[in-house]
Subunit: 451 residues, 2 copies
């Protein structure tokens, strides 16, 4: 019988994260101070983030960074995750392609987010922090952080995007189960939130807004650090455990991917699976294609501009060089809440600029069609975010059907959709629509980008 | 570093189920016809269930029954599940006990139910059936059946206990995502449902009621077979894949369980993990203790009577020899919907009678306290059903703390609770209570048992 799943034993787990910055042909441009326009160093960032994360953020020298023993010990609660050959999906598509997915949906809280939450909370604790705060969209990151905070004995306060909180009430309950305090954002509990509500009382919230609130709380509370679930370099670094495992598992399967795909919000799950394979493009002459699948309603990779912009709506963060739709961009209320972010991570943006990877934008309905096909063939209901990766994988597999090529396609199943069933309900009832952003709207919000 | 998880590779999966009936010192008494009181054979049951399942139901000869290749192929989508050493829970309890759990919560639909759903749908398909029907409580079984039906190209109709449907709306969406037709029970779509609603318009539903409706549909629809998620011998048989894997995995850990625990509704997850270990008590002089954890609100093992009773509320099924509270017993609306069933499986009932295992009853609040402690230590939010097993395991671990014994405790984590967050919400808000049944109520419903 054909082997379906490839699993590493605990003693085979990677013991270091891969830092692609060391191998990039063009190093990322530095974050800069909004007022002075001077480059920021680790010291400048360390009042917001755990210090070790700031060092990792700007490290362009070390290609591998050891995973602390305490973090590795916690990774063993759930890692490795299986690499799965999607035979049933291949059959449904009648494609000659070999489709594999890395199944991060079996992680305790249902997504890949925990990989970085554990690392960030460990460093925060090590540095004497007692409280952590963060933003969350669909709630995947907030749930992971709430759990990681418990593990390392920290108090957690989470700002959840208001619209996502309403669409997915169970995720707030999960955070509360792990003892976190959860607030819908924009809220009246911060100056940033008040300002936003004053301008727009019906603001549905966005990751940018929630980040503003969490950063404000961190910088105004003693012994409190801010943590981020995506976008930043150190977050993608922690997620490379995904791709490093997948690399070993693909070898067990006797294959190497021609195409690597992940959905794209800020870049953490994409970087996580892609970077370890990309290093072989950069160093060993491999020629794998890398595709980041973003929602049509939030198309920063395919239709944004490469500019220095704020990471949050209120303009509290440093300026980051990235593909952006403008930090005032308000994404439509799609169900893939984790992809509703106006900018791309700094590394990703540079890689796109250098032609080392590409973005594709996926309409909401196509993502749900892909998710349904995947669920009915492989038996796993994917998160609406992950369905964007599945849709992009299906496009590639269909090309193979036309050309007859037996390409090896690998995508990251970043999470399951069991908490997103109201979205599937709406899809099954025919109540979902596509949201394509007009060029004019993008032009408008790009005006919010500082010169 | 200590090993946390023990995982089998695909080629190490068991290839046969274990049939404890072959090794039981007292064979189970046969099902009998309600009117004639004559024992029923496989032929008599085959108008309701797939024929092969009926043969397995009554097989007291073969100790191992090969798993069909097609089923094994589908098991490989998700099996083996990890055996996990609960170091963090041990630490939280400060117990010298070694606690292990078999993590069935990572199965695609979040519980162990899929192990038998795949087998039953395979046999139904093989015999030319086009439609399957069933009942479901919390929806774990219905979701598993809906997926398994899709896998083997069958149409599925599911009757879901009305109160569970309201408490856990996402599970109906999951079933619909897999293409199943879902009806709240009692419904007006069957004679059984109409009779029940006529007697009690506000009947919250129960597994017994839903079974009546599904059986009626199966026996009045051409090419339609009924499938059951628990109680029956062949269901527990299919679930023994859990214990057979666990046996190999415990050997990897270099240990053997002194105590094996599972929650108890009809007996499928209990039998699944317990029977493979119990055979070494029966044949190899082992002395493991087996504990079935039932809810205080539905205490058939600890306070029911051993009698011939109907499996359903309306009295459509054959009479089965079992510990029962009476088929008219209406369990309280606890959140562990999967444990709300009036009787125990035939094998389990005989084993209890023969003193080879025991039941314990767990109050609802104790189960949630246990679930919370488990979630915060091990990072997995357990299903309310599974929390009963955790509570029983914690009781045993606390005894070890008192005596200083390093006992090896193994329990089955039958499913996760991510779809049950409204229950956790209520617990966190202090809105949950215990439901202890009075002796008088039990005496009353036992009157419904035929003489």
């Amino acid at each position: 019988m054909k082997q379906k799943k490839f699993i590493l034993q605990e003693n085979e787990l990677p013991t270091a994260w891969y830092n692609i910055q060391a191998d990039m042909p063009t190093k990322p441009m530095p974050p800069i101070h909004p007022a002075t326009k001077q480059p920021l160093g680790a010291d400048d960032l360390a009042h917001i983030f755990p210090r070790e994360c700031c060092v990792q953020e700007l490290d362009t020298e070390h290609d591998f960074i050891p995973i602390p023993e305490e973090v590795l010990e916690k990774y063993k609660f759930y890692r490795s995750t299986p690499l799965v050959r999607a035979y049933a999906l291949e059959e449904a598509l009648q494609t000659p392609a070999h489709i594999y997915f890395k199944n991060e949906s079996v992680n305790p809280l249902g997504s890949h987010k925990i990989n970085s939450a554990l690392a960030q909370c460990f460093y925060a604790k090590q540095e004497g922090t007692t409280n952590v705060t963060t933003e969350t969209g669909a709630g995947q990151w907030g749930a992971a952080l709430a759990y990681a905070a418990t593990v390392f004995g920290l108090e957690a306060a989470v700002y959840q995007v208001k619209i996502s909180m309403q669409q997915k009430p169970y995720r707030s309950s999960i955070m509360r189960t792990f003892g976190a305090a959860v607030t819908g954002s924009p809220s009246m509990s911060t100056r940033a939130g008040k300002d936003i509500i004053t301008r727009d009382p019906h603001h549905p919230g966005s990751l940018g807004t929630a980040i503003s609130e969490a950063v404000e709380l961190a910088t105004t509370t003693p012994n409190c650090k801010y943590t981020l679930g995506s976008v930043l370099n150190h977050v993608a670094l922690h997620q490379t455990i995904i791709g490093l495992e997948a690399e070993k598992q693909m070898a067990m399967a006797g294959e190497y991917p021609d195409v690597v795909i992940a959905c794209f919000g800020g870049g953490s799950n994409f970087g996580g699976i892609a970077f370890p394979f990309m290093r072989h493009n950069l160093k060993d002459g491999k020629n794998t294609k890398f595709i980041a699948a973003e929602p049509e309603s939030c198309p920063k990779l395919t239709r944004g501009e490469f500019r220095y912009d704020f990471g949050d709506e209120a303009g509290y963060t440093p300026l980051l060089p990235m593909f952006t739709l403008g930090h005032s961009f308000k994404p439509a209320n799609i169900h893939a809440g984790g992809l509703r972010y106006h900018g791309a991570g700094v590394i990703i943006s540079q890689l796109i600029k250098d032609g080392l990877m590409q973005g594709v934008d996926i309409p909401q309905l196509e993502s749900f069609e892909a998710g349904m096909l995947f669920a009915r063939s492989e038996g796993i209901i994917p998160a609406p975010e992950s369905s964007h990766a599945i849709a992009a994988a299906i496009r590639e597999a269909q090309k193979c059907k036309e050309t007859g090529e037996e390409k090896v396609i690998l995508f990251n199943l970043s999470g399951h959709g069991l908490i997103d069933m109201s979205a599937y309900d709406q899809y099954l009832n025919g109540d979902l629509i596509n949201y394509r952003v007009s060029d004019q709207d993008i032009k408008q919000t790009l005006k919010s980008v500082p010169e």
